[in-house]
Symmetry: C2
Subunit: 160 residues, 2 copies
């Protein structure tokens, strides 16, 4: 059931060199109608800054036409998340976010306990379906018994 | 520092009645150019089905113009996630997903350990900034010392 990871050339965050345990920050937000230029500038700068933070692993971000956006960033540990949270330039951006950019937002910190991935292009030459589905997710008991360490096989050579 | 939750009337998932511990499933995917009607039908049906699953708490979903989408669903425990994962109709949809809808995807299961929220409309009558920011996130040590139970105050009356 276990196959090697087949996620080369995907645009999602890399898993190369990612630790066995890591954390996600799920940021869900509704944009106001405030100036898009200022928002874009700030947003791009924050992504640039975040990428320079120790412990930053990757980031996925999507905004829909209705102004609702989801950004998920990945971090080595909670200390890294906290350090980023209190970064001076980031704090200023957060204040702008509350005053200008967002009508509401949620920030959830969540520890990744399992990860599965699929890549159609990597699966072309292998068997259909089952084998093109990287089973790096373990959930043997099907309950919340906390087998946190077993859910990971982050060892492919993917680039982000 | 602690204020009551001020997230009424937000469109993000409700926290009313959410358990102190819960899990997220972060689904990141790239759509192929396959038929949009079939995809929409399937996608909508899956949301409908998921909502009927025991332990389902909420869902946020955004797709950008480039076809990359992020859907985050929230669940009471991993047993609920597993039950949903092996739902027969969902299994068929997953197969369609791999054969038709997605060129790649990632699925990450992550345990939510902290949650903060902001709602501009709820903050209008209170002090600027600090107090409009629901500090239900605790991260006292700033490290990964695992104070998982303390990060939650999910007791507002928000509707989803």
């Amino acid at each position: 059931m276990k196959t090697d990871d087949q996620t080369d050339d995907i645009q999602a965050p890399s898993k190369a060199g990612w630790p066995a345990r890591y954390f996600s920050v799920i940021f869900t937000a509704q944009r106001t109608l405030s100036d898009e230029d200022m928002y874009s500038l700030t947003s791009e700068r924050m992504v640039e800054l975040a990428q320079q933070q120790p412990g930053f692993l990757g980031l996925e971000s999507v905004r829909g036409e209705d102004g609702i956006g989801i950004t998920v960033s990945y971090w080595r540990d909670r200390a890294a998340i906290r350090a980023w949270r209190i970064d001076v330039e980031h704090l200023a951006a957060q204040q702008m976010g509350r005053q200008e950019f967002y009508s509401w937002y949620h920030i959830r910190v969540a520890e990744v306990v399992a990860h599965r991935t699929f890549d159609a292009s990597a699966a072309v030459d292998s068997q259909p379906d089952a084998s093109m589905f990287d089973e790096s997710m373990h959930d043997p008991g099907g309950d919340d018994s906390g087998d946190k360490e077993s859910g990971h096989k982050e060892s492919d050579g993917t680039t982000s």
